[in-house]
Symmetry: none
Subunit: 203 residues, 4 copies
DNA sequence: GATGAATGAGGATTCATTCAT
DNA sequence: TATGAATGAATCCTCATTCAT
């Protein structure tokens, strides 16, 4: 197809296209090893254009993280909140599903990027904490509180550290990132954790 | 004689000194941002000498990981194995202590390095898996088996995924690496997990 | 109609407007450090339009120099020539005034630009020499000749190098460009020089 | 001559060699148009080595200016001060010679560089002012004072602006830099100026 | 063995210039 | 004409690696 012009104007889409390409590249190679040239090539764009939308490589990195986080986290959390199931049904159903999807989601990759580069981008870490971690933990606490009020959970459930629910998700993420081939039934891991937690807090 | 060196160092220690310096540097700045010059300076050695012992920066990185892993893991695990307590006493005592020390140990830093750079060093990841993960998991399995045989644990304990014990350790590691300042009682997290697990498996 | 342009500008003015904007920019930052984008923004015009009138940045530079030179030099010299004063009155009056205005005039900035970039634009230097320097020197020579013929100056005045009159102007220009803050009474400098010159050549 | 090793260690000489090469390059092309690569090539050195001695291009520029100034100005001024001639003999002899050498000296090139780049390097301009301009002016004032005390100059000579002596030097410098080919007898220009000045101030 | 001066490939960034709209 | 998105060559600077001493 020799008709493809090498010069196209698509102002609207470029920033997202470039950020998406950058996400792929960072995911594959990490921040430091990714060359802007690579990103541009992936996005089908010249190196210079990247700089039109993102002043520096660091800017691009930040955009990528925020982008992925805001775009995905809302949809993930959104799924969870719209429910009228009993607490246990909800946990064993939508919540478990949500948790099981995390290790394969782009969030996992963002986590890796943050672990690798977080030191040099404390504002990004803060952003991630505020928009993902804090919100997630709050959601869990609210959910437990509601369960207690409904009489589904024992009052002592309020003492539960929400991170106990997150821990197997975290381990599964890291496991997959590092040992993709070494089998671990991450789904069952989370189920077991939920079993244990429910045994503890059910009324 | 002003030509006398300030201090006499045995040549045999040089490789280790360099690797230790490199570990510090990598821990502080990450792999990419660490310059060989930094490492040499930290080790009190010239840049050229570094290359005498480690052909490339990558070699040095690998040596660092292996070094830290073998040197520390043995001592950490060693502490745990020499015991004649009951299974529960052991878990609540030495094992818990071991787990609680992990997030602050060099292993946590190695984990970060592996997460950040693992993609490009699959052999390192394998090495880490074999020498840390696999050994750790096996140790847990052996321990449970012994508990079952002793009648301290229910036979169903054999089905337990050892990663359930590791999960809160993992989460605590990552939490500290990223959110050092955002308080989380990681000690209590691990205790709670152990409480839950014991409730599940105790005879 | 919101589509109506805020102000209507005649197309014929565009080249001059752009050149004026470029003059300002070059004056402020120098040739190399001036971006075409800056010039366009100053002119209230798009970058592309600049290229419609000036094929390259160099073209623009040349236009700027020629522009400023022709537009200003004529007005400056014009002020001087229309007179019927005696030679001494003329020198101490209009000519001195003209000289004293030079260091603050755009000519001074063109001089700086030529000094900085002249090497790469010999044609521009020639242009400047022909249109400013040669004309100026000739005017001085003519003036002296007239004074001699009128008996106001001694015949030996013909031997005078016109540059003696220009020298303090030159020094004042450079002084202001470089040492704006280090005070020098440039007006008095030129007066003194004229005193000395007149003492030499007066009949 | 295939024996010339491409790898030579001459730590002592490098900085000066590089600065000298840079001086040449800046003199020829100006600051902005000079590539570090050019400088390195001229110095017979790799690009990287330049950065070992000069952290940035700007540093190199500053070193060049300071270098040239300090190295040359002292020798030039030194020639002048060691004398026991009468004031007039001194002016017409060593001082005139000194002035006549200026336009062809490296100082002239530094002047051009400062005029071109001074805006962006105010500290350099200050340095130049303090080390060249101020010292030069002070020397002239001292010299006149001495002449007055000796009865060789009239007391009114103290009112003379030293810049009157410098003006033809300045003009000659600029003239040569720009109009090398357009003849001007700069030597005679300075002689004439000295004639005029002496006529004014001689007792 | 040690040193650190020297090399040079590699990558971020800028900006004059082009061209689809 | 007029715009400004898009291009890509050019250039600064870094740093792993080499090698004369």
């Amino acid at each position: 197809m020799p008709d493809q012009p090498k010069y196209q104007r698509r102002k609207e889409d470029r920033p997202r296209e470039i950020a998406d390409a950058a996400f792929e590249a960072f995911a594959e190679k990490g921040y430091a090893a990714t060359r802007i040239d690579d990103v541009a090539k992936r996005a089908g764009v010249s190196k210079g254009l990247t700089y039109l939308y993102y002043k520096t490589k660091e800017d691009l990195f930040k955009a990528v993280v925020r982008n992925v986080v805001v775009r995905r986290i809302d949809s993930l959390i959104g799924d969870v909140e719209s429910t009228e199931l009993s607490s246990e049904e909800f946990i064993r159903g939508p919540l478990l599903g949500f948790m099981q999807r995390m290790p394969g989601s782009p969030i996992a990759i963002v986590v890796r990027l943050l672990i690798a580069e977080g030191r040099r981008h404390p504002d990004l870490v803060d952003y991630y904490y505020d928009n993902v971690v804090a919100r997630g933990l709050a959601a869990i606490r609210d959910f437990i509180e509601r369960g207690v009020e409904r009489g589904e959970f024992r009052p002592a459930a309020r003492e539960l550290q929400p991170q106990l629910l997150v821990a197997p998700v975290m381990l599964s993420m890291i496991w997959r990132l590092l040992f993709a081939d070494k089998s671990l039934d991450t789904d069952r891991l989370m189920e077991s954790q939920i079993d244990m937690l429910l045994a503890q807090i059910k009324a």
